[in-house]
């Protein structure tokens, strides 16, 4: 029941915030803040209250189910495991940040803004919690509309175009997922006679390889576009750069994660054979994304666009890791989801700070800000370093684990992905260079340093990144049972390190084939 409350509080808070605007101008902010704090409190309580359960046999901590459309076998089914709990923590934390960041930035239609903000969060919460595929699709769509409004109403100059693009891309891919969900539903129904959308029931569907492949592509469509993976990333730079800061933070920090979450939660367990077949291609896409995103990020002059392309690059690691099918990679992916949420969110916040002061996002018009705003410089430096994967900060753990994992699966692709790290350095340092180091060609107005409210936003993110970089174990522990659960179907595909190592020498193609044969053999058992 407590899970339902999470969603209800957000939705009710949103409505209340909207209505309260008439009453007092500032009240929506406080209402929104209150409701997100409440949900954050609940989640933190959940986290602290049940660490023991995470180590138990079942990864599920809490479950809740209520029939919804019984005729179709749809139920309002929520469940919480370590992975969802982590995602929820991230959601509410970034939600909080998003509200704080908008405190001054959003001046008109405050009530409606917070309504949308909270409903996006509610939709995301639903996506992370639901265990019914119909409901999943439902929430998947629910989170898009308020996001569309956030971009379309409070965005920058080109907001309408960006909002359309965002909406159409995500909807199109979502519909393909719907088709796949329905296909799965009917196949399962015709096999067992019970038509249900329940995740746990559908896990036991046995699929013909052809069907599994098609259905997997349906799911992949939605998740790969959301993630996004090159060549489906085209919506992201526009949406990110045109959204208001809070919108960018939520887009980068949370919406992209729903794609990664979907891969972990649905694609892997539902289609074990098909994913193994597809894995090399998926990893290839990941690597292409890493490199392509990095190259594009390097050439951008719009700060938010630049950061947006870094997201493309970073999300490449996610898909690379997911399709490596081992615990290192998956834990890396989970870490990547969280740390990318923090670091990229933080970079967008930074862009927001700059935009608020300078009314431009063009880095050619910036420069030499370190001397004028040293605090901002330090903060920016830390986030930039996080984004280029400096050890000691969370992203490093994520990327390293992912790469360690993916190395076991595919050597050459991992090599190229690692090269992406160099490119990450190039574009990340470009931010520092252009914004904070070399003097600007254009005179800029006074640039006040970070205020205490802004420090209040930035500080927890820095602490979080450092904590994740130096002692990520609590997070990893929390995610571990879930990761195991998702990997169950692949238990055989974990490479025995030493065996592979001995055979590993030059011909890497051989390793691959050995690896796949082993995987296939194990699956047959």
């Amino acid at each position: 029941m407590i899970l339902v409350w999470l969603i209800v509080i957000l939705m009710a808070g949103g409505l209340l915030a909207w209505l309260a605007q008439k009453w007092h101008r500032a009240s929506p902010r406080w209402i929104a803040l209150g409701s997100v704090l409440a949900t954050l409190g609940i989640t933190v309580y959940l986290w602290l209250a049940m660490p023991a359960a995470t180590l138990g046999a079942s990864p599920w901590l809490l479950q809740y189910e209520l029939p919804w459309i019984p005729q179709w076998g749809v139920s309002f089914s929520l469940a919480l495991d370590g992975l969802s709990l982590l995602m929820l923590l991230l959601t509410f934390f970034l939600g909080l940040v998003a509200i704080l960041i908008s405190w001054r930035e959003i001046k008109n239609k405050v009530g409606f803004f917070h309504f949308n903000l909270l409903w996006v969060l509610a939709g995301i919460t639903g996506v992370f919690l639901t265990m019914d595929l119909f409901l999943f699709y439902f929430f998947w769509e629910v989170m898009l509309i308020p996001m569309y409004f956030l971009i379309g109403i409070w965005g920058h100059e080109n907001r309408n175009y960006a909002a359309y693009k965002f909406f159409i891309f995500t909807q199109a891919s979502g519909l393909l997922m719907l088709l796949a969900i329905l296909g799965l539903y009917f196949i399962h129904g015709s096999q067992t006679g019970t038509y249900t959308f329940n995740y746990f029931a559908l896990l036991n569907t046995s699929l013909a390889p052809e069907a599994a492949r098609l259905l997997m592509f349906g799911f992949l469509a939605a998740f790969l576009v959301k993630l996004p993976v090159v060549p489906f990333h085209s919506w992201l730079p526009d949406a990110h750069s045109e959204a208001p800061t809070a919108g960018s933070v939520i887009l980068a920090g949370l919406l992209l994660k729903t794609g990664a979450y979907g891969l972990l939660r649905f694609v892997l367990p539902l289609f074990p054979t098909a994913t193994v077949e597809f894995a090399p291609w998926a990893m290839l896409l990941g690597v292409i994304g890493i490199i392509y995103g990095a190259i594009l990020a390097f050439s951008q002059t719009d700060l938010k666009r630049l950061v947006a392309y870094t997201s493309v690059s970073h999300m490449g690691f996610v898909i690379l890791g997911v399709f490596a099918f081992n615990e290192w990679a998956l834990q890396g992916v989970v870490m990547q989801m969280i740390t990318h949420g923090l670091s990229t969110g933080a970079l967008f916040i930074l862009a927001g700070f700059l935009y608020e002061r300078l009314h431009t996002r063009d880095i050619r018009l910036m420069g030499g800000f370190w001397s004028r705003a040293p605090k901002m410089g330090v903060v920016a430096l830390i986030f930039v370093m996080a984004s280029l994967g400096l050890p000691g900060l969370g992203n490093f753990i994520a990327e390293f684990l992912t790469l360690v994992g993916s190395w076991q699966a595919n050597n050459w692709l991992t090599v190229f992905a690692t090269i992406g790290l160099v490119m990450a350095t190039a574009y990340s340092l470009r931010i520092m260079q252009k914004v904070f180091y070399e003097p600007s060609l254009v005179e800029q107005p006074a640039l006040p340093d970070l205020t205490s409210r802004e420090m209040l936003i930035a500080a927890p993110m820095i602490v979080g990144l450092l904590w994740l970089g130096l002692y990520p174990q609590p997070v990893l522990d929390l995610a571990q049972p879930s990761v195991q659960e998702q990997l169950q179907a692949y238990s055989g595909s974990k490479v025995e390190p030493k065996v592979a190592a001995v055979e590993a020498p030059l011909s890497i193609a051989e390793i691959d084939s050995v690896y796949f044969e082993a995987a296939v053999k194990d699956l047959k058992k």
Partner: protein
């Protein structure tokens, strides 16, 4: 005492943190106290620990601070491991680092960003300490990257000059290229051993692989890639000369105590792997040889005082690689230590000069400083002598001589390597004394402003002394046979076996080395003091000038990389700035719009056309119903 191990890196980190958080709000004195003090305490702890280590002779100290993370058996800790090798390194790092800190208090006194400077310096020292004390390769990698970050911050310390920023960026990116190779090496090591714990790897590697095993070779090459990047060796050396953009103490720190020696440390640390891969060893030696020559010749032509020193660093590290490559592990480490002393000394002297000459770095505008800055002159001369391996008195002579000797005497040595080393030594003494003569002799060309005070002089003198006497802890056997240093390292690093019966020729080689060194000095004297017309005649020859330009540009590597890598990348990035894939979707939208336009034409608003539309539909339906 071993419980305090963690304090050694933690103190500089704590200092950095304090300075970042409060640096702007506290007095300069306090900044100095925190900045230099933290490193000083580290140095003190190191000293105490070293004494204890020497007296009790344990195999190593180990301390786990906390478990970093644990994923499916991948379980690196934040744990420190201190053995003789690390001991040498932390000693150098903390002591030389401390001296440089002290020196900086004066050098940077006028700078507005005083606290930022010390924060970065502390971070630098801390990272380097983590690097050399790490008990697993992941933690080592943390320090490794941290060093890269600090180099970036410090090289770009005076960020307002765009060139400095670019130099900083270049340093970070190029070293990161090496790091990437190293990271891949780590993946392979992990795949092979299921851990990155250095001790475990070292013990298990021998069981797992035979000498020359392909895996070992690949890994060794990848680690070498990392080492080459950090240590400024061929082909990733181009960042180092540009790194002179930072304040001089930073250069001293980078070149003497930290950063560039990391590669040496890595190879020494992973010597087990390298020994399993003779090809990689050969590569190390070859890289060292080629690098030391290229850098030496490049140094000959530089005018910027610091650039000369920078190339000399590249060259000297080439010597260390040469030593490591033939398996003369302790010789390489010994040269590292001695090099740290004299290179720090030379940089600090150069800093004093630059400070005195109002940040003038061009040697052509210096001269006659011998009289105006006597302390600096003498200390610089000592450093130069050491660098040029001035026979008998300088420490550099002993360390370099050992390396050269082992090129021939060592099992894996070869005449070619020896010849390269010898030629390098010759060039070294030429450019070293070219520098000395141009800077300190002749007419004064720039007014001497700031005269160094105690904070500068004391470190200079200490380092000068060390540059002189440091060599006496390891003397050739025909010269007193002191083997304190190699003994100290022997539990960790295997001793090199010398070809039997070769000993009796050692004095000949020493003599040769001494002659080479002295003749180099003489040539420099000839060109720059006694017969400047010789130089002028060279300047008239167009071939010579072409060579000069070529060397001056660092053998054209910058240009080469620019054309091969940087420009294509930038070009690609800029061409694709608008994202071709986006163009595809835009095209799709356009096509759809085109369909809309076409269909819109049918909605002409004319009733007859609509009727015709219905009729067309009727024909369609009837055709289908009749013919299908």
């Amino acid at each position: 005492m071993a419980d305090l191990l963690w304090l050694i890196p933690a103190l500089p980190f704590a200092g950095a943190l304090l300075l970042v958080l409060f640096g702007n709000r506290i007095s300069r004195g306090l900044v100095t106290a925190i900045g230099a003090g933290s490193v000083g305490i580290s140095a003190a702890i190191t000293l105490l620990l070293g004494i204890e280590y020497l007296s009790s002779q344990p195999a190593y100290y180990h301390q786990e601070v906390w478990n970093w993370f644990n994923v499916a058996g991948f379980n690196p800790s934040i744990a420190f491991h201190l053995d003789a090798l690390s001991m040498v390194f932390i000693f150098v790092i903390t002591f030389v680092g401390f001296l440089i800190h002290v020196y900086s208090t004066e050098y940077m006194a006028e700078d507005a960003d005083y606290s930022r400077f010390f924060a970065c310096m502390n971070l630098f020292v801390g990272s380097m300490l983590v690097l050399v004390m790490a008990d697993n390769l992941l933690l080592l990698y943390l320090g490794w990257e941290g060093v890269g970050l600090c180099s970036y911050l410090l090289i770009g310390f005076w960020y307002k000059e765009p060139a400095n920023g670019y130099a900083a960026r270049k340093a970070f990116i190029i070293t990161r290229v090496g790091d990437t190779a190293m990271a891949i090496g780590l993946f392979m090591l992990f795949q092979a051993f299921g851990t990155l714990h250095i001790q475990t790897i070292s013990t298990e590697a021998v069981q797992l692989w035979d000498t020359g095993a392909q895996m070992a070779v690949i890994i060794a090459f990848l680690l070498l890639g990392g080492a080459v990047g950090k240590s400024g060796q061929l082909p990733l050396q181009t960042w180092l000369p540009d790194a002179m953009a930072g304040p001089t103490p930073v250069s001293a720190l980078i070149h003497a105590a930290t950063m560039v020696t990391a590669g040496v440390y890595l190879i020494a640390r992973m010597h087990v792997i390298f020994e399993l891969a003779p090809v990689a060893m050969m590569a190390v030696a070859a890289i060292g040889a080629v690098t030391l020559l290229i850098a030496g010749f490049a140094a000959l032509t530089q005018y910027d005082l610091k650039r000369v020193l920078a190339y000399s660093t590249i060259s000297q590290i080439g010597y260390m690689f040469l030593a490591l490559g033939v398996g003369a592990w302790s010789a390489g480490v010994f040269h590292f230590m001695i090099h740290a002393f004299f290179k720090a000394l030379l940089f600090l002297c150069a800093g004093a000069i630059i400070l005195a000459l109002h940040h003038e770095q061009d040697m052509r505008k210096m001269g006659g400083l011998r009289t105006s800055m006597p302390v600096v002159f003498w200390t610089f001369l000592i450093g130069a002598a050491s660098l040029a391996a001035f026979p008998l008195v300088s420490a550099g002579f002993y360390s370099k001589d050992q390396i050269l000797w082992l090129q021939l005497a060592g099992e894996n040595g070869s005449v070619w390597l020896y010849a390269a080393g010898l030629l390098g030594a010759f060039v070294t003494s030429i450019y070293t004394f070219r520098m000395v003569f141009i800077t300190f002799y002749g007419k004064a060309k720039t007014h001497v402003g700031h005269q160094p005070t105690m904070a500068i002089k004391v470190p200079l003198i200490i380092l000068a002394v060390l540059s002189l006497v440091g060599g006496f802890i390891e003397l050739p056997h025909n010269f007193g046979h002191v083997v304190l240093f190699s003994d100290f390292l022997s539990p960790i690093l295997p001793t090199i076996s010398v070809v039997p019966g070769f000993d009796q020729y050692e004095w000949m080689l020493q003599l040769l080395a001494a002659v080479v060194s002295l003749s180099g000095i003489y040539i420099a004297y000839l060109f720059y003091i006694s017969k400047p017309e010789l130089l002028a005649s060279i300047h008239r020859s167009s071939t010579a000038m072409a060579v000069h330009r070529f060397w001056h540009s660092g053998w054209g590597f910058d240009k080469l990389y620019d054309i091969l890598l940087v420009r294509p990348y930038v070009f690609l990035a800029n061409v694709n700035k608008r994202d071709v894939i986006d163009g595809f979707y835009t095209g799709l939208a356009r096509v759809t719009e085109g369909f809309h336009m076409m269909l819109s034409e049918t909605q002409s608003g004319v009733l007859r056309n609509y009727v015709a539309g219905v009729v067309v539909g009727a024909i369609m339906i009837l055709t289908i119903s009749i013919f299908l």
